[in-house]
């Protein structure tokens, strides 16, 4: 519920898993001249492109935040060291979590026709988990 590193890490693993499955399908079908390639399907293509975009953004943002963290000048606070860079890291990575979730869940939502209410409930749970974990990240430093 509250491990920020775990939530982000699991979302990246999920994105890579789904992306590799999609890529495998595209490559195998292209190499073997499939009669009806998946990449011609609108829903699949949309989900695949959004996922690639999300993974690219997450790697770019991770590099940016590493630079921010590197350039930070630590200040001594009340019984601890204050790092303002961690706030920006928390905000950015929580954005990545939602972007990846929306990209990964898009295909099942459209294909299986899952009601919007269930999607909203899962999203609510995710938002609460991310808020709690980001708050703990600020408070305890990870």
């Amino acid at each position: 519920m509250s491990q920020f590193r775990g939530i982000v890490g699991n979302f990246i693993i999920a994105a890579v898993l789904v992306l590799s499955l999609f890529s495998f399908a595209i490559v195998v079908q292209e190499e073997n001249n499939a009669a009806d390639p998946l990449k011609n399907n609108e829903v699949f293509n949309d989900s695949f492109n959004k996922l690639i975009e999300s993974v690219e953004i997450s790697s770019a943002e991770a590099e940016d935040k590493y630079d921010v963290f590197n350039e930070e000048d630590p200040k001594a606070g009340f019984g601890s060291i204050v790092l303002f860079g961690i706030v920006s890291v928390g905000k950015t990575f929580s954005g990545i979590v939602f972007g990846t979730f929306i990209a990964v869940i898009r295909l099942p939502l459209v294909v299986l026709g899952i009601p919007a209410t269930i999607y909203s409930q899962i999203l609510t749970l995710l938002i609460i988990s991310v808020i709690v974990s980001v708050w703990l990240l600020y408070k305890l430093g990870g």
Partner: protein, 110 residues
């Protein structure tokens, strides 16, 4: 329901032929086999570890059937009709993704 006559004599023609009778034929056949495989995996895990996880069993078997489905789309009849249609493959993907997500996130809580 009318079925077309076999257009060729190859194995691919024979495999594609049921889809001319029913578009969802391979989904109806493969989905129960997938659930059966999941049940077998669950039981094997239960026997080996002591307790099984049905979510992870479904996640693994749906992933396996998604890959099997990709190969199924490569089999085509002499008329160029694929054995497994894109819609059916997408259904396998759509089943595999949520179960794999749940499986991955269960490890976070553990």
């Amino acid at each position: 329901m009318t079925c077309e006559l076999l257009s060729g004599t190859t194995l691919a023609d024979f495999l594609v032929w049921p889809t001319t009778c029913s578009y969802w034929f391979w989904l109806i056949i493969l989905l129960p086999i997938m659930l059966l495989l999941a049940w077998r995996v669950f039981k094997a895990e239960e026997k080996r570890v002591g307790e099984g996880d049905f979510i992870s069993a479904i996640a693994v078997s749906s992933l396996a059937f998604s890959i099997l489905g990709i190969f199924g789309t490569l089999v085509k009849s002499t008329d160029g009709i694929p054995m497994i249609q894109t819609d059916i493959l997408l259904i396998f993907f759509a089943i595999a993704i949520p179960f794999n997500l749940i499986w991955i996130f269960k490890s976070l809580r553990a």
